[in-house]
């Protein structure tokens, strides 16, 4: 079933390139993927920290390289996010002027690549699937974008290509940091090796820094964020929805999947740096967002700014903060997709997204106004939306973080400053809402029509997801917590700095469980 969610969009994309009817095939494939993701959610074994639905094909026995897929709680909610945003993006795409088939194929490649990256248990394919999803993003911006699309496409291409290769170096170093007999591309095997203390502390420092920069560029961590607003402003709405909503979460997912369980020493070493950078995201980029004069740029900057909260959750390294980060990743993905979709519809109708030229649009487009308002409130983090659940967990988790630090230290300062981020995002979101949908309406916009009924389905899907998990955040929390708890206990995040020296006395659950089904004679069975 995991394989189906990965390859359904990819096969559909290939069919579309060969000549299948573009929109129908894409919609069918994305709805099927959504159904498959719901099935995965329903059949997910709660409370188990290990990977489920694992399938594996050996590629190179010599390098211990294999195509292995499987999901745990974190993967599941990321796959679910991709499966929710994809049909919405495809639905919003509508008729395309030129190369319609290529457009839909690109959308499905992004979706399939992202799901593949989230469900891969092998470092190589984890990286390669993400790259597979990046290329269509560049093409979408360059071919179908608006405004200064070619410059934006170049910028994002060069930026993310360098980011990817920095990340690749980090991953190679990570693979090599494990002693040769334990070496494997399998993330589970690496996790076992790390929990046995096989990755030396100074090696962890280098690797974590490389991963932080690599993933940071991909996630638009301050100061590597300048590609993002421009690219999102130029991108066609479905591409912005899929990239900002889903694909960008790959970097955060990577930090949660690799950096926290495998490199606890590295994470501890670079905590201060990460906290300073993420405050740059929240405060500096937040202020820049307020200064924006166009809706698309403002949304682009706001998506950069919100990454700061998620980084705060990851930096806190406590169970509460990390869980909050996972929840906010999901929530932000859905809410930013909704906002980009509506901004795209507005651009299609009015031809402009400059605040000064808009205004009063809620009179002619009440449904769009309502939906945008809900999306904006979600992005601000109002209670009732999933974003609120994520943010509050991050703030509580960061204030009482997993590191043992004495007194009033950087985390408390960072949390207090980050709380101001909520005020900042209220300012820019409400301001955008007022300038676009409230106030006096320009005469030229009086003839605009509201979203046609068919488009209300994807809006309802996205808003529904935000509200549903907003009122029942526990549904997400109980999916991700067991996996995180296993990692964090394995690395003694919660109890201080002493390491599991031999691993025999208190073997973390994930370790014992993994060793039970590890193939014999591969070197990681120590007893």
């Amino acid at each position: 079933m995991v394989l189906f969610t990965i390859f359904c969009p990819i096969i559909a994309a290939i069919l579309i390139m060969v000549g299948a009817p573009a929109r129908k095939t894409a919609l069918a494939a994305s709805v099927l993927t959504f159904a498959a993701a719901l099935f995965l959610l329903a059949s997910f074994g709660y409370g188990q920290p290990d990977f489920q639905h694992v399938t594996s094909f050996t590629i190179s026995p010599e390098w211990r390289l294999s195509f292995t897929t499987g999901i745990d709680g974190l993967s599941l909610i990321m796959v679910l996010l991709a499966a929710i945003v994809t049909p919405a993006a495809v639905w919003f795409a509508g008729p395309i002027d030129k190369h319609e088939n290529a457009f839909y194929a690109c959308l499905l490649f992004i979706s399939g690549g992202a799901i593949g990256a989230f469900a891969s248990l092998d470092l190589f394919f984890f990286y390669a699937f993400h790259e597979l999803a990046l290329i269509p993003t560049f093409l979408l911006i360059g071919m179908w974008g608006t405004g200064n699309r070619v410059a934006a496409a170049w910028k994002i291409t060069i930026y993310l290509a360098i980011g990817s290769f920095v990340l690749l170096l980090g991953l190679i170093l990570l693979y090599q940091s494990v002693p040769a007999p334990l070496r494997s591309f399998d993330i589970r095997a690496l996790t076992v090796a790390a929990s046995l203390g096989q990755i030396a502390a100074d090696a962890q420092h280098h690797i974590y820094l490389l991963l932080l920069i690599g993933f940071g560029i991909l996630v638009s961590l301050f100061p590597f964020h300048t590609w993002a607003p421009e690219a999102y402003a130029s991108a066609p709405a479905p591409a912005a929805m899929l990239h900002a909503g889903v694909l960008k979460k790959f970097g955060l997912y990577g930090l949660l999947r690799l950096a926290i369980p495998l490199l606890p020493e590295g994470a501890r070493h670079w905590t201060t740096l990460l906290v300073v950078l993420l405050l740059g995201n929240i405060i500096y980029v937040g202020l820049v967002t307020i200064a924006q004069k166009r809706l698309d740029w403002m949304l682009g900057y706001s998506s950069v700014m919100h990454m700061g909260y998620i980084f705060l959750g990851i930096a806190s390294a406590g169970i509460l903060g990390v869980t909050g980060a996972a929840v906010l990743m999901f929530a932000h993905g859905v809410s930013i997709a909704l906002l980009f979709a509506l901004a795209g519809e507005l651009r299609q109708r009015t031809g402009t997204l400059v605040f000064d030229e808009l205004g009063g649009l809620a009179r002619v487009m009440p449904f769009a106004g309502l939906a945008f308002g809900l999306g904006a409130f979600a992005a601000i983090g109002l209670p009732g939306f999933t974003n609120f659940a994520g943010e509050i967990m991050i703030f509580f988790g960061a204030f009482k973080n997993g590191w043992t630090m004495n007194g009033f230290h950087i985390f408390q300062i960072a949390t207090v400053l980050a709380l101001w981020g909520v005020v900042i995002s209220t300012v820019y979101m409400l301001r955008a809402y007022r300038k676009t949908f409230m106030g006096t309406i320009n005469d030229q916009w009086r003839q605009l029509v509201d979203l046609r009924p068919a488009l209300r389905v994807p809006v309802a899907l996205l808003v529904g997801a935000l509200l549903c998990f907003g009122f029942f955040p526990q549904a997400l929390v109980q999916i991700v917590t067991p996996g995180f708890r296993a990692y964090l206990t394995a690395n003694n995040y919660l109890t201080g700095t002493q390491r599991c020296s031999h691993g025999a006395a208190r073997r973390p659950r994930i370790l014992t469980q993994y060793e039970e089904d590890a193939p014999q004679g591969r070197g990681y069975n120590r007893q």
Partner: protein
């Protein structure tokens, strides 16, 4: 059972037969010669899979002290044969251009198909050579046949310029090679590489003089592999030479250069200066090749600079002395470079070889545009293509050996690569063109291009066959 030297003899005989037929059977269509050559080389390629092993090179005497048939050399013989077959297929596509260069007659077309066979024999000898004398002779066989090929369309002044430049600089590099060999022979009294290594291990040997000889040899090989600062000839010669010859130069000549480099450097690895020197050359090559490729507007020149850039990545593998990484990269390089040149030859006959001539190729020929897309993304290093795994393997080795500077420069230059390779993709898919004529592709080329596309993706997804083939 076939012994290895029979392969080269078969190739030489094939070349001579084709030359004789060309001389006496004046009435036949010259393309038949090319098909015969392709068929003959394909038979030899098949034969390489059934060769008997040769004696261990350490105790070898007589002929076997010049010539080795180890796994690496047989692999590269297959490599040379495969390259030559693809180049001959490209040459058939290129034949109309050649005819227009010799108006009214078929003169010369036959030789155009026959000379690459001798180059191929030279390459096959070269990869087996373990003695400086033999290296020199087979290198000359390759180089002299390239003199002919590069200036083949000699009525074209640009080609003539390319031919002259190649001749002069190549002769200069040969002189360096002979001088270097003379120094090494003078110090060690040996020309066989294994005995040179033994002599160098002896503390009584004059290391400084041997190092001087090695530097001269390195200069000559740097010319072959287009490493900075011996790359000056590359852009002009690549642009001026007939395009199939350019493809042959950039793949065949480079691969042979790297095999010889790996063999020649082996005795000198005990000298620490050697590695430092190659690190320096690799850095310069990476930076120069990638930066100079950025502003190019002509695709042949772009590929010339990209060939320099790829020499840089290959040199990273040489610094780490990982023959398998270098070999894998060369195989990937073969596939993607030949793919790009094959498309270039077909498109250039319709429009031209500027990048702007590729505008809107996606509408004119989706097949060729897709082939070029695969070639370019593989050269750039996008996952699921052979080029990515090649770079992955090279960087993997470099990281393992802690070549920090090389890795950092390598990663940044890969970013540059994305820019200039995707420039071609942009022209094909994003730019529109007034010229909407369809471009037709004949059956054989279509087959060859499809095989190269499949090969590029296959190696990017499932590289194990090459790893197995390289296992000793």
């Amino acid at each position: 059972m076939i012994t290895t030297p029979m392969l080269e003899i078969a190739v030489l005989v094939l070349g001579m037969v084709i030359l004789l037929v060309e001389a006496f059977a004046t009435k036949i269509d010259r393309r038949i010669l090319a098909f015969a050559a392709i068929a003959g080389l394909a038979v030899v390629l098949l034969g390489t899979f059934f060769v008997a092993p040769s004696p261990s090179p350490n105790q070898a005497t007589g002929f076997w002290s010049f010539y080795t048939a180890d796994r690496l050399s047989i692999f590269f013989k297959q490599f040379a044969l495969l390259t030559t077959i693809f180049v001959l297929i490209m040459m058939i596509d290129y034949a109309p251009v050649l005819r227009s260069s010799f108006p009214g007659t078929q003169d010369g077309v036959g030789e155009f198909f026959a000379v690459p066979i001798f180059t191929c024999a030279g390459l096959m000898y070269l990869v087996s050579a373990i003695d400086f004398v033999f290296i020199f002779i087979s290198l000359e066989l390759v180089t002299i046949s390239f003199y002919v090929l590069v200036s083949f369309t000699r009525r074209n002044p640009i080609t003539l310029e390319a031919g002259t430049k190649y001749l002069v600089l190549s002769a200069l590099s040969t002189a360096f090679l002979v001088y270097g060999i003379a120094w090494i022979f003078g110090v060690t009294g040996q020309t066989n590489l294994h005995r040179v290594a033994e002599a160098l291990a002896n503390p009584a040997t004059d290391r400084g003089a041997a190092l001087l000889g090695m530097v001269f040899v390195l200069v000559a090989l740097g010319f072959k592999i287009a490493a900075v600062p011996f790359q000056i000839w590359v852009p002009d010669v690549y642009q001026g030479a007939p395009t199939p010859v350019t493809a042959y130069l950039s793949v065949g000549s480079k691969a042979a250069g790297f095999v010889v480099l790996l063999r020649v450097l082996l005795p000198f690895l005990t000298l620490p200066q050697t590695q430092r020197l190659i690190v320096l050359i690799a850095l310069l090559t990476l930076i120069y090749g990638n930066l100079a490729a950025l502003p190019q507007a002509n695709l042949k020149r772009l590929l010339a600079y990209s060939s320099i850039a790829h020499a840089g990545y290959l040199l990273i593998g040489v610094v780490c002395f990982d023959a398998r990484a270098v070999t894998f990269y060369l195989v990937a390089y073969l596939l993607m470079t030949l793919l790009s040149f094959a498309v270039l030859i077909i498109v250039a006959q319709q429009t031209g070889d500027e990048i702007s001539d590729f505008d809107g190729l996606a509408q004119r020929s989706p097949f060729l545009a897709f082939a070029m897309l695969i070639g370019m993304v593989s050269l750039a290093g996008v996952p699921f293509t052979a080029g990515f795994l090649g770079k992955f393997y090279i960087f993997y080795t470099a990281v393992l050996q802690r070549q920090v500077v090389l890795v950092i420069v390598g990663v940044i230059t890969v970013g540059c690569g994305f820019y200039y390779y995707l420039k071609v993709v942009r022209a094909m898919y994003w730019q529109s063109t007034a010229n909407v004529d369809k471009i037709s592709v004949n059956g054989l080329s279509r087959l060859a291009i499809s095989a190269l596309i499949i090969g590029t993706i296959w190696l990017g997804v499932y590289p194990q066959p090459i790893f197995d083939a390289l296992k000793r």
